[in-house]
Amino acid sequence: MVSHSLIVSAPMAPLAGALAAGLLGARLGRAFAHWCAILSVGWAFVASVLIAREVVGEGVVFNFDWYVWARAGGVSLSAGFLVDNLTAMMMLVVTFVSLMVHIYTVGYMAEDPGYCRFFSYIALFTFAMLMLVMANNFLQLFFGWEAVGLVSYLLIGFWFKKASATYANLKAFLVNRVGDLGFLLGVGLVLAAFGSLDYAEVFAAAPGVGALASLPAGWDAATVICLLLFVGAMGKSAQFPLHVWLPDSMEGPTPISALIHAATMVTAGIFMVARMSPLFELSETALSVVLMVGALTAFFMGLLGLVQNDIKRVVAYSTLSQLGYMTAALGASAYSAAIFHLFTHAFFKALLFLAAGSVIIAMHHEQNMAKMGGLRKKMPVTYWTALAGSLALAGLPPFAGFYSKDVIIEAVGASLAPGANVAYWALTAGAFVTALYTTRLLMLAFHGEGRMDDHTREHIKESPLTVTVPLVLLAIPSVLIGAVTVAPMLAGGFFDGAIVVGEGRDTVAMALEKMGGASWSGMAAHAIYSPVFYLALAGVAAGVWLYSGYPLRTEMFARGPIYRALLAKYGFDDFNDWFFAGGARRLAAVLWRRVDAAVIDNFFVNGAARLVAMSSRAARKVQTGAIYHYAFSMLCAVALVLAWRLWLR
């Protein structure tokens, strides 16, 4: 029997671990810090398993308020927890990947002076992420939302001496704040429309929401609310055009790239929209926007992965692209497919990042793939696990990514939402791109001749057990989890009650029907009738051909305009730096010097003071100090008064 205190303990244990590691780590040592963090997150994982057993196994839904946060005007805002199947699954993913990353960190960060601080941060992250996924109301959701953003900021800037790291973390925070602005406004409108921020109350009242007095006439409240909430998701889940922070976030240590910027935090936006499905289903406009943004992100960000040479950035762009797939699924009302892809992606993308980290350690912190090559022989565990992750990412059957991605593409194909056509083709073409950049990474890093200097070459060796064990533990689900869970998660009514899909919009069911049911073998067999499968194969083949042998066969493109546009990341970073960052600073300088200092303060305020000084200088001239001046003026005055009294009366 799961008690409420067990549920509360799941997020609180990592919080306690984070505080202990952060406050006492410096005094009690590194082992103390990592044990605090690992045990507390381990507890969160165990608690999640216990909770999931009851929630998933017996169909219990926990929904309770913990304490009242504030109240006014007859409305109470509370902190509280909701654990249904959707949350239980997220808790398992978060705590499992987090635990793997904690163990991996013991090896990866072994020589870093900020060891204790790092463990404190990642345990804190687990707390924040659990608060986010376990919230039963919008306010706590926002708390977790911003708290994971804070930890992300702290971890991107973990090596705060590096200028690039502190540039990246400020950028990440501010870009996310743009999203959060939308999110907070959305939450404000939810409160205005429903008089409550509790999920259950809001969702129950959602179908009846009409116009809202605070909106311009004719605006549909549901559409505005959903679009604003989605702006938040675009920030957190790095959707075009708020995607710019995620590649730069690779400045952080690799374990957090795996945990935060691939497996969990960046999927918060996906989770949020799925959680809000009762609202999104009310607005076709909003869904259509979600669909288009997701599809564009999936295709165009995938292309950027083709030209990057930094191994982590390749994986980062692939994350952007995969998040685009999930977002597109949300827009097609295929929420469960989006969550399913989130689920499988968490394993294989965390794996790929950790494998990249393993390579980076072996290469003495060299991340440029142009200087790698031939690592396959020297790092067999890393290679084979990376291969498993890559096949899953490329979506080849029967690896995990195949099931989730194919369902998404088919579901978008079945969707009748405006724009679904374009989205379908973008996602289908994306399958080729995905396979191509994945193969490119494998070919450049692990195959061919080694291109590193001799010193590095001699020291390349397989990483220690703390690194390889998590790799293997993540490789297993990367291979199997899709085949094992596709039937129960997509066809078994797993998300009933948590996710609402409007009538005639159950695109997941339509997709599964087209793919011959939700059996793992049936779907794998059906793949040979699908263009997606051949595109993926073509991507792999093209990758092997293009990137075997140095100099590369792609050199012929290197001067072309397309290549340069991709290398410039379509110019977004330059534009943002010039227009937003630079423009804001220029405007600020003008407002301060020209308006605040010159006009308001100098002209009006000190001007008034100067005016007084000037008039008193003038008045002072009268006070000469000479008695005969005063006597003369008295005489004049007496004469004037007399004259007035005598003649004018």
Partner: protein, 507 residues
């Protein structure tokens, strides 16, 4: 229990706490006088500091019963005291506290305690005068928050100027005289118009009791005149744009303690005046000119947000950020929504914690480096890790991160705005970006990177006294952020009462 049916009529407390408010006013004042007297006799500075610390602690402890013995269910003034003062004009020594006052008095006594602790090693010249100024200021400020008689209010209001004027003018930086005079003249000029309005109200009501002013029917014309006369005093003090430019100068030149008190407490006097006088005495004019107040508040939030981004002096940056954050207070009040009033009042409290803490943070490095220029710093986190961690917490609170007190007031006001007009809410919510931008950009330039100079490399991390002060601020910032309920509940009846009174109007 309530005496009379009007708005905010008081009722008497029970025997034990009958004179609590008087104690809170006169104990610090007497303590300040005592410190001065002993200082004149040449008592050693550390004993003076100990005495001042004792007085501040006693005042803080005395203010706790205000909170814990406050009857949350009752409407109107509590801890009421009433005695004749100048009978001929019907002026009375009348005190009372509602939820707003209680929170402000607590904020004041708490801040005073920390300010006395903050000067421990830093102030070495004219110690007695410095300590006395803060103690006396603290008592007088409590008087403003507790007065329910207009003349008493006005006397306390003006009297608080003098100690701060002296603090800036004597212990301030290079341009201290300019800043002190500017501060004094600017705020005094505004206040004189308030005096005129109070005299007019006395003529109409036949008494200086605020309760009588609340019940006094006034035409729209009279209300408008009174409203703007009050506004002249309060807008300068808050400060609202465009009458804010005295604040950066005053902050930059003030010693650390002066800055803390100025930001944490003195600015609240203006906002408190709006709550205590403007809204209930001129409710219809307040509603009529709400558009102006809202517009000025949004200008403060957006325009000042940009101006803060351009600052090259840490203290000036935080001063401008204060103006932007106080914009949420005035915005919240003039939306006439429950979450707006509560959120605005909560923002007063939170701004007290956060800006006080930030000015203390600046003081910590200023004491070591003797510069406030951002470009003289860089990489401080390398040598001062504990300081960096706590400073980060306050920076995040300033940027309005949920879980800190900085989020609560802003979010509540934004929620209230979303209930009124989405564009208002959007304009207010831009603080999410600008607030984070100017705060974290400053933090980055001061704290991150390689140690910028030998001076930075030689910095020592905070000592225990500094740590204790920062932890005290941190505890409140987190507590009020994670569980604002005790604070919002205590002002809830006052807020509802005020809204109902404004809604009813006087016409």
């Amino acid at each position: 229990m309530t005496r009379g049916a009007g708005y905010n009529r008081g009722f008497a407390g029970d025997g034990l706490v009958d004179s609590l408010l008087s104690w809170l006013i006169w104990l610090p004042v007497a303590g300040g006088a005592g410190v001065l007297a002993l200082g004149a006799r040449g008592v050693c500075p550390y004993r003076l500091k100990a005495l001042a610390g004792g007085v501040a602690l006693a005042a803080f402890l005395l203010s706790l019963p205000l909170f814990f013995r406050f009857d949350g269910a009752a409407v109107g003034m509590q801890f009421v005291e009433d005695a004749p003062w100048i009978d001929r004009f019907g002026i009375r020594y009348a005190l009372g506290a509602d939820g707003f006052s209680v929170l402000m008095i607590l904020l004041n006594t708490f801040t005073t305690l920390l300010v006395v602790a903050a000067c421990w090693e830093v102030i070495q010249t004219r110690v007695a005068g410095y300590l006395a100024a803060f103690l006396i200021m603290s008592g007088l400020t409590n008087g403003v928050f507790a007065a329910t008689d207009a003349v008493l209010f006005y006397v306390f209001w003006e009297a608080t100027l003098i100690p701060l004027f002296i603090v800036i003018g004597v212990w301030g930086g290079e341009r201290r005289v300019y800043a002190a005079v500017k501060f004094f003249l600017y705020t005094l000029t505004g206040s004189l118009l308030m005096l005129v309005a109070l005299l007019y109200l006395y003529r109409e009501a036949g008494s200086f009791s605020l309760a009588a002013f609340y019940d006094l029917p006034l035409t729209m014309g009279a209300q408008t005149a009174v409203f703007f006369a009050f506004l002249a005093a309060f807008a300068v003090k808050v400060p609202m744009t465009p009458v804010h430019t005295w604040l950066p100068d005053a902050h930059v030149e003030a010693p650390t303690g002066g800055s803390i008190v100025l930001a944490a407490v003195m600015l609240k006097l203006g906002a408190y005046g709006l709550l205590r006088l403007s809204l209930p005495i001129a409710p219809d004019a307040s509603v009529e000119y709400a558009w102006l107040m809202i517009a000025l508040s949004l200008v403060a939030i957006i325009y000042i947000g940009f101006v803060a981004l351009a600052q090259e002096d840490i203290k000036k940056l935080i001063a401008y950020s204060s103006v932007a954050h106080m914009g949420f207070v005035t915005l919240g009040f003039f939306l006439f929504e429950p979450w707006g009033i509560v959120g605005g009042a909560f923002q007063m409290l939170s701004h007290g914690f956060v800006s006080g803490a930030l000015f203390f943070c600046v003081g910590v490095v200023y004491d070591r480096m003797h510069t406030r220029k951002i470009s003289d710093y860089g990489g401080v986190a390398n040598t001062m890790p504990k300081y960096a961690a706590l400073f980060m917490l306050f920076a995040m609170a300033n940027a309005g991160l949920p879980g800190t007190s900085g989020f609560v007031g802003e979010a509540m006001v934004i929620f209230a705005a979303a209930n009124v007009n989405i564009w208002l809410a959007l304009a207010a919510a831009t603080t999410l970006i600008t607030g984070a931008a100017y705060t974290l950009y400053m933090y980055k330039r001061v704290m991150f990177g390689e140690a910028a100079s030998d001076a930075v490399r030689g910095l020592k991390d905070i000592n225990r006294r500094e740590l204790a002060i920062m932890l005290a601020f941190a505890a409140l910032v987190l507590f009020a952020g994670l569980w604002p309920l005790p604070f919002t509940d205590i002002m809830q009846p006052a807020a509802e009462n005020l809204l109902a009174h404004v809604e009813k109007g006087k016409l």
